[in-house]
Symmetry: D2
Subunit: 131 residues, 4 copies
């Protein structure tokens, strides 16, 4: 489990006074990037190698609104690690422990040069194992 | 079926050279706003009344990358219209007819003043009926 | 003079009920991309050649708020075309002709491979001439 | 002087491989919000009172590109505190001390209810004084 913290900023909110739903996906991905770095496998390093990890699926369930100044924690976990794809799950709680949202992203690997699917590189699989 | 067109702009793309996955949700919501307006029920009017339509779920399946300059069409349909919520489905195709992505958003109604769930207002339900 | 139209969407607005100031820069750049395309010199083509046009300066004056559903027109003009840089000016008016904002962006040319400044390529200079 | 740190995330970058220019304005505003909170005057509190602080001007000079994974520090200072407006200046340096950008934002005060200009509220002026 990796925890990523993000504060709700003015530009995250909309005229209805709450965080716009799509921003949760950005913040989740920010957390995923921070998570990869703790495994010494940052996206920067990935972009310099010969593969990419495009998303094939993303979803979110929204349970409570997030408003300006809220302190959100994204609890991130690798919930599936297959041969050709992996799934991350995110539970989002706010500063009073309220369950705000749950998200899931599914990632595959492709070759940067051919743009064709490839098996997950072994060093990436190792990096994604439970700590 | 309502068609919403959007061109992939530089700020939609990322260092991997393709549209960042979360932008599909923004563009889908832009299309939903345009769709509501064709039904004379724009979000602006909604914000001035006593209800809001928060999302409780959003999801996307990504099938092909979108790159700078691509002309995307979001084909939007109300695929479920219940008593307390409705679902919109979006099929995204590019300028050569390729199936780029499919999205779904689920919306409920709440009272602006109490922030409690309410049944879908009758005039909204009428507006969301198939044309 | 090139006109670019953009509607204020929910995700452009913030909890203060108006368009967040930074979004004007996104929309202005969207307009710049559309303008370049009318000159047969889209950013996509530029990215495929050996140069880039990074901004060295951007500024905006805000004169009236933009709110959800407003129809903004960005009137875009090349106001300076030098040997190594050019300046675009944008006047933003809304659907009732009100002066909402004025922006300016200054662009230079660099080589994609060396990342060093280069003179503006002649075909770009030709494309940026008043029509 | 207040320092705000931000890491360049994938969604900040574009197909040219660098942070899109407009994102600097978001991050600067994020820093401004964090700065106000250290003065016990967060935007959330402001939105609950009867005034708003709309920007009338924003500008940026870009001196070096920011790329994925860069650690940016926004050094924020109140460089002018007038009767009806104030100016914030931001110097952006990266993890190796390189001068990446300089920004300025000018804010005025308006009444939330009348949307008319008002003098800067005394408690805000006090909060913005050099520490």
């Amino acid at each position: 489990m990796f925890n990523y913290s993000a504060k709700v900023k003015l530009h995250h909110t909309d005229a209805a006074g709450v965080m716009f739903f799509a921003h949760f996906f950005y913040l989740a991905h920010d957390g995923y990037e921070a998570f990869l770095e703790t495994r010494s496998f940052g996206l920067k390093r990935i972009l310099q190698q010969d593969f990419l990890l495009p998303l094939v699926h993303a979803e979110a369930d929204y349970r409570a609104p997030a408003t300006l100044g809220d302190e959100l924690t994204f609890e991130i976990e690798v919930t599936r690690l297959g041969e050709t794809s992996f799934t991350l799950s995110y539970r989002v709680v706010n500063q009073v422990g309220q369950d705000v949202a749950g998200l899931k992203t599914v990632h595959t690997a492709i070759s940067q040069s051919t743009r064709q699917p490839i098996p997950l590189p072994p060093n990436l699989k190792a990096a994604l194992q439970p700590a």
